[in-house]
Every structure is written in structure tokens, then in C-alpha cells.
């Protein structure tokens, strides 16, 4: 019962937020809320492989950042009127969300497929380190792209166009992001209950048993990894629009760490955990940074304490029964 109440309350708050922000004069609240929703989406994508699949990826920012860059690069070419490639056919840039965002997902997903193909041949600690290393590799790749700003990053002239919606209006953008998040949540709920979801959960809980039953576990892990990457790419496309700027720092490992924190803080392996985690983490960041510029010095030990003492995360407090997750397997 408590769960339902919390969910409905959160939904109501989410829907009413821009109005509340306007009323209280905290206009920047819409931007903060949008950022929270985008990080929740990134957390959802990681949770699929981490909480439900038991794969600890410390390089998820690679897919997040790549999605952002796809949008930024396409936008740059569109606004400058330069084609992206001229051979064999001419492909121009675009500012249309209907093209750029799915493309961001596709590129991120394919990247995840490639990285996963190699990384998933290992497990445990090796997997953690390898995903971190690959993300770092991509970070350096984008740093070396002088044409797209290199280390300084790339500004985006305008947000994507999305048919009748005007995304330059923060409120409209917020509602679009909220809608996307709700759709992804619904789809994920479906996926988790499906055969594929059951397979993933089985792999997480007892991979050896799954193989003995006849499941080619590598294939399912790889598929989950690719889907997860694509979703992270979508979050990246959204963040690029939100900040109207991308830089290689979107792929650095602090970013990967933050997405991990969002998932763990909220409750691994639960559907709504990442949303709770994003809210908690980013609000904490907002509050603490008002107080001191050095808020990280508090956040760090806080994180350590949470890991040591409050492992089940926030959603674990709401869900009375043990969530369908928790604890990676090494």
C-alpha cells in the first residue's frame, strides 16, 4: 500500500512540477527536475544490466556520452550547413529529434554491442575494469576529435526540433522527458516480466545453473548490454539538449560512477529504484553545493556510509518485501 501511495504521489508531483515551480518562483527548478529525470533514465538503463542482470559496468557513461555527441555532431552539421559525409552518398546533419535521437540510440547500442562482445567474455572484477577501460578509451577518442571541440567540448546552437513541440521552452522539454521516462518505465516493466527478463534474472542469480539448463548465457547478456547501451544513448541525447553543450567529460569515469551511485542509492534491481536514486543524488548535490563549493567532501563519505550500512537503497525502504535484486555475483 505504501508503495502505491508513493508512486502516485511521485507521479502527481512530476506532472505538477512546472506549475509549482512557477508558483514558488523557483523557475530553475524545472531545469533541475529535467536533469533528475534524465539521470533517472540513465540509471534505468544501467539497472537493466546491473540490478537485473548482475553485470557490473563501470563504463556506462561511454554510451551516455556517445548519445550526446551524436546529437551534438548532427546539430553542428545542420546549423553549419555542412554535410556529414559526402561519399558514397551525401548525408547532412539534422536537428530533428525524430532522426537524431533514434540515431543516438542506435549508435550507442551498436557501441555497446561491440564493447560487450569483448567484455562479456570475462566476468567479475575483470569485467568491471574492462568496461571502465573502454569508457576511458572513448573519452580519449572524443578528446582527440578536434573538429568537434576536442577537450573543450561542443556547443549546440539549438535544441532538437520535435514536430509541434517547441523544445526550447523548458516546460515543454520537461514534459517530453517525463513522457519518455514513463514510457521507458512501462516498457522495462514489461521486459523484466518477460521470458527475456526471467532469463536475465536467472543469469544474475545462478549463471552456472542457467548454462546447465541449456541457456546460452553469453547471448542474453550481450543483448541486455546492447539494449542498456541504447537506452543510455537516449539519456545522452536528452542531456545534450538540456545543457545545449557536450564535452568529453560526459564520458569520464566520474560520470560512470555517478550513474552507478544513482542505481545503488535508489535500490538495485527494482523498477523505480533509479528514479528514487536520481532524485536523492541530484537533490543532495543541489542542496550541498548551495552550502559549500566543496560539497564532494561530504558526498564522498556519505556514499561510503550508504554502501556500508544502507545497501538496499532508498526503494528498499518502501518495498517491504526484498526487491528482486541486490548483490552482484563475482
Amino acid at each position: 500500500m505504501a508503495r502505491r501511495a508513493v508512486l502516485l504521489g511521485a507521479l502527481a508531483l512530476g506532472l505538477a512540477l512546472p506549475a509549482l515551480a512557477a508558483l514558488t518562483g523557483l523557475d530553475y527548478g524545472v531545469g533541475v527536475a529535467t536533469r533528475i529525470l534524465i539521470f533517472a533514465l540513465a540509471g534505468l538503463s544501467l539497472n537493466l544490466i546491473l540490478g537485473y542482470g548482475g553485470m557490473v559496468s563501470f563504463g556506462h557513461a561511454a554510451f551516455f556520452g556517445t548519445g550526446a555527441y551524436v546529437v551534438a555532431i548532427l546539430s553542428q552539421h545542420a546549423s553549419l550547413g555542412e554535410p556529414l559525409v559526402t561519399w558514397p552518398i551525401e548525408i547532412g546533419g539534422t536537428e530533428s529529434a525524430l532522426i537524431a535521437w533514434p540515431l543516438a540510440m542506435a549508435v550507442a547500442g551498436l557501441l555497446a554491442l561491440a564493447i560487450g562482445a569483448i567484455s562479456l567474455r570475462t566476468g567479475g572484477l575483470y569485467f568491471i575494469m574492462i568496461t571502465l577501460a573502454f569508457a576511458q578509451m572513448l573519452y580519449f577518442f572524443f578528446v582527440s576529435l578536434e573538429a568537434y571541440g576536442g577537450d573543450d567540448g561542443l556547443s549546440i546552437w539549438a535544441r532538437s526540433t520535435a514536430g509541434p513541440l517547441d523544445l526550447s521552452d523548458d516546460v515543454q522539454f520537461y514534459y517530453l522527458v517525463l513522457a519518455l521516462l514513463l514510457i521507458v518505465l512501462a516498457l522495462k516493466a514489461r521486459l523484466v516480466a518477460s521470458r527475456f527478463g526471467a532469463t536475465l534474472a536467472g543469469i544474475r542469480d545462478n549463471e552456472r545453473r542457467m548454462a546447465a539448463l541449456g541457456f546460452p548465457t553469453y547471448r542474453y547478456k550481450l543483448a541486455a548490454f546492447a539494449i542498456s547501451g541504447a537506452l543510455a544513448g537516449l539519456a545522452g541525447a536528452l542531456i545534450a539538449n538540456q545543457t545545449e553543450f557536450v564535452s568529453p567529460s560526459f564520458l569520464d569515469w566520474q560520470r560512470s560512477g555517478e550513474i552507478l551511485v544513482v542505481v545503488i542509492l535508489g535500490g538495485m534491481g527494482t523498477l523505480y529504484g533509479p528514479v528514487a536514486g536520481a532524485v536523492a543524488y541530484l537533490l543532495l548535490e543541489e542542496v550541498l553545493s548551495q552550502w559549500t563549493q566543496h560539497w564532494m567532501v561530504v558526498m564522498g563519505p556519505l556514499l561510503v556510509l550508504v554502501v556500508i550500512f544502507a545497501r538496499r537503497g532508498l526503494w528498499g525502504l518502501v518495498e517491504r518485501e526484498s526487491p528482486d535484486g541486490g548483490g552482484s555475483r563475482d
Partner: protein, 264 residues
């Protein structure tokens, strides 16, 4: 002359200085219940590891249903009908008994790249799962979390999961391990009921079970097969008596078998 369903020839496996398996050869006919016995350290677990695909043999071949499966990974062998149970119970503790078996059914019900329909409501998965549970006598425990089942029930669940995959060969690794007299008797009855319908390779320490069930027995000591034959032949074999069955020997004591289980 029917081809053996399982044809093992000359399996060798050495770990460092230990020869765990030395030229192990045995064969099973379809429908046969073949027991493998031997003292601790005889190499039984290593043998199973090589049969299911978790350990790569240094030499030798394994043929299953006429095909060479020596190089195949575990999941491919399972997909071909080679099912196993684990010596140390290996289930999905968070799922119900029904959920455990349904997952086993799912493994052999086509691929699992299905993202939409809720698996928990698929009759194609649930019905065969219930049947398997009934076969092992766990029908009334279907809704209990596997982690909450009694030890004996968990061992039964392992069998149910193996059965749910519609196997041609069942590799059972000490199914009565840790069971009391009553539970063991139940398990023996269960296995007796399966005889003839599916080939079974049974690794066991419980001599009552072995002599009650086996069509043939293979005896292993220090990695080598020292005898193969019917229960009567084995009982009479002097070498076997000396090495294993003799009254003063170690044989069927319940010992801590930690060293036997190869870490994954």
C-alpha cells in the same frame, strides 16, 4: 546392436600433480541406469565435470547420442538433452519451486528473446512445470520459495528441473546427499520410477540406492575405472571389495566432501 547413448573413451584430466581422471572409459545404453561409485578423491566429480562441459579433458572423447560433444560448452550439451543435477544444491532461491522448474522448461521451449508477454503467465511454461513437480512429488510445494524448502525437497526440485528439460540422459550427482532415511527412500522410489524412460548416470555414495537401482555399476578409484559390471558382479569382485566395498573400508561413510567439488 543399439548405439550407446553415452560413450566415454579414455578421459584424462590432471590438475597439477593430481591425476583426477586416468583413461576413464564407460558407456551407457539408452534407458540404462548406470551408477558410478568410488571413495572420495576417486575422480567422480571431475568425470561429471567433463561430461557436462565444465571441465575440458586433457585427452579422450565424449560421444552423446552418436555425436562427439567433447568440445561443446555446457549449455550446448544441455540443449541436446543432457541434463544434470548438482552435488551441492544449485537452485534459484528467490524463485518459487514452480518458478525454478518453469525456467527449466523455458530453456528448452525455443529461444528467450521474447520481451513482451509475461513469462509467469505462459501456460506453455507453467503446465509442463507443474507436471514435473508432480512427478517428483512436490506438487503441493509449487508456490514456496525454493530457498525456504527443506533440504530433501530442494534435492527433489533439482530432479524436477532436470526432468523439465525433457532429457535423454540424466546426470545425477549424489541426489541423496544429506538426506535422512525416509527422504532417501523417497528419492530411490522416484528414481526407480524414472528407470527405463530416460538413461541415468548416477554418482552415489549411498550403497542401498546404488544396489537397488543400478543396471550396471562402474567403480572408480584414484581416477581409474577398476571394474564395470552388474551389481552382482561388482559385489563379487575381489578388487572392488578390497578398494571400496569391504567392511573395513571407507566406502559409504558420510564424509565432508568439500575437496571434491570443483569451484566454478
Amino acid at each position: 546392436m543399439t548405439e550407446p547413448i553415452l560413450d566415454v573413451r579414455g578421459l584424462d584430466k590432471t590438475f597439477g600433480a593430481v591425476r583426477a581422471c586416468d583413461g576413464v572409459t564407460l558407456a551407457l545404453d539408452p534407458g540404462e541406469l548406470h551408477a558410478v561409485i568410488g571413495p572420495n578423491g576417486a575422480g567422480k566429480t571431475t568425470l561429471i565435470g567433463q561430461l557436462v562441459g565444465e571441465i575440458t579433458p586433457d585427452a579422450g572423447t565424449v560421444r552423446f547420442r552418436g555425436q562427439d560433444i567433447t568440445g561443446l560448452p555446457a549449455h550446448a550439451r544441455a540443449a541436446r538433452g543432457l541434463a544434470r543435477s548438482f552435488q551441492i544444491t544449485s537452485l534459484f532461491p528467490r524463485l518459487t519451486a514452480l518458478g525454478n522448474v518453469a525456467l527449466a522448461v523455458q530453456a528448452h521451449a525455443g529461444h528467450s528473446f521474447r520481451f513482451w508477454r509475461p513469462a509467469a503467465r505462459e501456460a506453455a511454461l507453467i503446465d509442463p512445470a507443474r507436471t514435473a513437480l508432480a512427478q517428483v512429488g512436490l506438487a503441493d510445494r509449487a508456490g514456496t520459495r525454493a530457498g525456504a524448502l527443506a533440504h530433501g525437497e530442494q534435492r527433489q526440485l533439482e530432479i524436477a528441473m532436470a526432468l523439465a528439460t525433457e532429457p535423454r540422459l540424466l546426470l545425477l550427482d549424489e541426489p541423496t546427499a544429506g538426506m535422512g532415511i525416509e527422504e532417501s527412500a523417497r528419492m530411490i522410489a522416484l528414481l526407480a520410477g524414472l528407470k527405463g524412460r530416460v538413461a541415468i548416470l548416477l554418482v552415489e555414495h549411498d550403497m542401498d540406492a546404488v544396489f537397488a537401482l543400478a543396471d550396471r555399476i562402474t567403480v572408480m578409484v584414484y581416477g581409474r575405472v577398476i571394474a564395470t559390471g552388474t551389481p552382482r558382479e561388482i559385489r563379487a569382485d575381489a578388487q572392488v571389495r578390497r578398494a571400496y566395498l569391504g567392511d573395513e573400508e571407507i566406502g559409504d561413510e558420510e564424509e565432508i566432501r568439500g575437496a571434491d567439488e570443483v569451484a566454478p
